[in-house]
Amino acid sequence: MSAIHISVNGTEHTVASACTLAQLVTRLQSEAGQPDDPTTLATALNEVFVPRAKRDTTILSEGDQVFTFSPITGG
């Protein structure tokens, strides 16, 4: 299986080709030892918001920039 290179929050990652955004989120949460809960973050691909319902059908490509955003305290 071939691999592609993407960046996640500015850090380089290698994932399998045809990896979906949903699969990436699951993997990232698992690697961080966090519960598999897709509702705790929002995602953007190449600076465009990708709704949770579309992560399953969003297939990552070479050079994609993925950003994940999580809740913080704020003023």
Binding site: N9, L28, Q29, A32, G33, Q34, P35, D37, T39, T40, L41, A42, T43, A44, E47, V48, F49, P51, R52, F67, T68, F69, S70, P71, I72, T73, G74, G75
Partner: protein, 268 residues
Amino acid sequence: MTMTSFSIADTLLESRFFLGTAGYPSPKVLQDAIAASGAAVITVGLKRQLTPSASGGAGTALDNSFFQMLKDSGLHLLPNTAGCKTGREAITLAQMAREVFGTHWIKLEVIGDDYTLQPDPIELIRAAEELVREGFEVFPYCTDDLVTCRRLLDVGCRLLMPWGAPIGSGQGLTNPHALRTLRARLPDVPLIVDAGIGSPMDAVQAMQMGYDAVLLNSAVSLAHDPVKMAHAFKLAIEAGRMGFEAGIMARQDMAVPSTQVTGRPFLL
């Protein structure tokens, strides 16, 4: 006598205090401060990071249990677009906030200057227009410029959040004249003073001007006792509003005796 509730964005609120959640010494202090404030609306944010695993001091992640507590609290969450410098960024962040926090309310911040954190009015208006089109209730963080405020209303904002002073500066209301002008020229628009409030006195001043609500963060979170300060602001906001509703007497240049006297009490 209870303070009159008020309606904003089709929502009836029992408190005119909007409280920020950043920069508290601990989640427990934040939780207690929220309770002491009686606030009905609290602000939150989003940060570029993976799901948080811990929460703590300033600008920190909300852990899942605390985040859930906020969502279950019955308080209205008002997510912000802090840190955005373009309308495009702010729109994307707002879309994310709507999904994560489950609200169409957005405190729209588009910053045009790093030192004063002054809003960029052009980008702000553009982003507000797009977000209103997408169904958001936009709470625009803006300056006290009347014409910019009018343009925000033109593109569909139903309320405005002019600054009192730069964010986090605690300077109070640096331009009371401009704020009074806004209130006078936009009598039917809900106006919330957002940013710059330093002490309860500043909140009283804003409320006595007829502002509908006050949004603040640092004045509480940076106090020696944030919980007590949250309560102090609750009282100040209520007192200021009640004073406004009661009608403040007109100032006089010269003394006007309170006690009726006829002539001089004694003729010596």
